[in-house]
Symmetry: C2
C-alpha cells in the first residue's frame, strides 16, 4: 500500500511525520501522524496508537498534546490517525459535529448510508496497524492504545472487544463481559469537564463494572480541569509512562 | 484599566487564561494570554514575556509550545500577547502576511498610515507590563523576555534597546552599541530552517557583533530542525530554565 509523506518535522530528537494513503476500509484518502523516536533509527520500537476526540484530525494531538518528549525518552512510536473518513459524500455526514465527518466513533457502522465508509474500528484495529508494521520500524508484538473523549472511549472498546464477538460498542457493556488477558487502565477525568456536568460522560458506570469484574482501573478525577487539550497536555506524560511500562517490559 | 477574561483552563496545576482589554497604545481591543503557575496562588511570581512570530495570535504559543509544565515547575508566570493591533482599518494592513495584521514586528511605527496604531514596542515593553503588574501577582522587579522568529528578534531588541535612545530596530545594530547591564542570551536556530537557507535569517551577523562586544550568547544550531512549533516545543524547556535561573535568583 503506497504511502505519501505529507510533512516531516524534526521534533524531540525524532521526527513527527504525517502520511496520506488510500484506505481500503474507509474507501477514501486518509491521513495519519506518526512520531518516530530517535531509537527508531536503529531499533524496532513499540507503538502507541492515540485516537482523538470529536471534530479532531490527525493534527490536534501532535500539535497540542506535548507527547513527543516523553515518547522520545521512552523509545515509543506514536501513531495518531484522523477520526473519520472524509469527503465520501455520505448523505448527512456534514450536518452535525457529533456524527459523520470528524465523528467516526471508532465503530463499524452497520446501517445505510454509513456502513460502506464508516468503518473506523476496522481501520484502527487492523488496516492501520498492518500499514504501520509494514512501513515503519515497528515491533508488531508490542502495541497499545489510548485516546481522549470519543477516542478515550474508542481506546477502551478496542482494548475490550474481541473482534467479531461482541455486538455492543459501549465500554461499560464490553467490560461487563470481558474475559481476555489482564488489563491495566489509566483513566483521567477533569472534575470540571463541561460534558461531565452535563451527564454526557458516565465514568462511574464503567468503574463500577470494572470493579465488579476485577479489571484494574486507576481513575483520577482531576479537580479544576476541563475537557480541553490543556487537560490532555497536563497529564500526557503520565499516560506515555503508563504505556511504556508494558511496551518496554 | 478593565480586563475581560476570555477563557480560563486549568493546566499543569495552574491556570492558562486569556484576557481582552482596550489598548491605549494600539487604540484597539487586544488579547493576551497569561499562565499562572500554582505558586501564584500564594506568592508574587516573576514574569516571562513571550512574543510570537509572524501570523501568530496569543493562541499559538499557549496551545502548541508545551511551556506550562516547566513554567509551573519553576514558579514563573508566562505572558503571551497578540502580535499586532487588529481591526484598526489601517490601509493595506491585510494585504500581506509579513506586514500589518499579525506582523507588528514589535516596533513603534514612525510613518503614516501605521504610526497611530502600530506601536507594539511600547505595548510590549510598557503598557502590557503595567497591566500585568497591576492585575496579577507579578513581581515587577523580575521580568524577562523571549520569543520566536519575528518575536525572537523582538525579544532581542526589547532587551538591547534603551527606550528612546536608539533609532534602529535591528538586533545586530543594537548589540553593536549596547552598553547596559550584562546580558545572557540563549539562541536556538534550526539548521534546516527554510528561512535560514533562504538567507532571511542572519544569526552569524548577530553572533559576530556579540562576540566583539563580549555579550554572552549561547548559540545552538540544531541539526534537522525547521522553523515550526515542533522546533519550539523541542527546546522550550531549556529556555524556561534559562530564564528561571535569573528570575528566581
Amino acid at each position: 500500500m503506497a504511502l505519501t509523506q505529507v510533512s516531516s518535522n524534526k521534533c524531540a530528537g525524532g521526527f513527527q511525520k504525517v502520511f496520506e494513503h488510500d484506505s481500503v476500509e474507509l474507501k477514501c484518502k486518509m491521513k495519519f501522524a506518526v512520531f518516530l523516536p530517535p531509537k527508531a533509527e536503529t531499533h524496532k520500537c513499540p507503538v502507541l496508537y492515540w485516537i482523538s476526540g470529536l471534530t479532531c484530525t490527525e493534527q490536534n494531538f501532535i500539535t497540542k498534546a506535548g507527547s513527543q518528549l516523553a515518547a522520545a525518552d521512552n523509545g515509543i512510536m506514536v501513531v495518531a490517525p484522523d477520526t473519520s473518513p472524509r469527503g465520501c459524500g455520505v448523505e448527512g455526514e456534514d450536518d452535525g459535529w457529533d456524527l459523520g465527518t470528524g465523528a467516526g466513533f471508532y465503530v463499524d457502522a452497520t446501517q445505510e448510508p454509513w456502513k460502506s465508509n464508516y468503518r473506523m474500528y476496522s481501520y484502527v484495529t487492523r488496516e492501520l496497524p498492518k500499514l504501520i508494521n509494514d512501513n515503519f520500524p515497528a515491533d508488531p508484538e508490542r502495541m497499545s492504545i489510548s485516546g481522549h473523549s470519543m477516542g478515550g472511549h474508542g481506546a477502551l472498546i478496542c482494548a475490550l472487544k474481541n473482534p467479531g464477538k461482541y455486538k455492543a460498542y459501549d465500554a461499560t457493556v464490553l467490560a461487563s463481559g470481558y474475559a481476555g488477558p489482564p488489563l491495566d487502565i489509566l483513566l483521567d477525568q477533569g472534575r470540571d469537564d463541561q460534558f461531565l456536568s452535563a451527564s454526557q460522560l458516565l465514568p462511574d458506570n464503567l468503574i463500577a463494572v470494572c470493579s465488579e469484574k476485577k479489571i484494574p482501573v486507576v481513575f483520577r478525577l482531576q479537580p479544576g480541569y476541563d475537557h480541553s487539550y490543556f487537560f490532555i497536555y497536563s497529564f500526557i506524560n503520565d499516560h506515555i509512562k503508563h504505556h511504556a511500562k508494558y511496551l518496554n517490559a
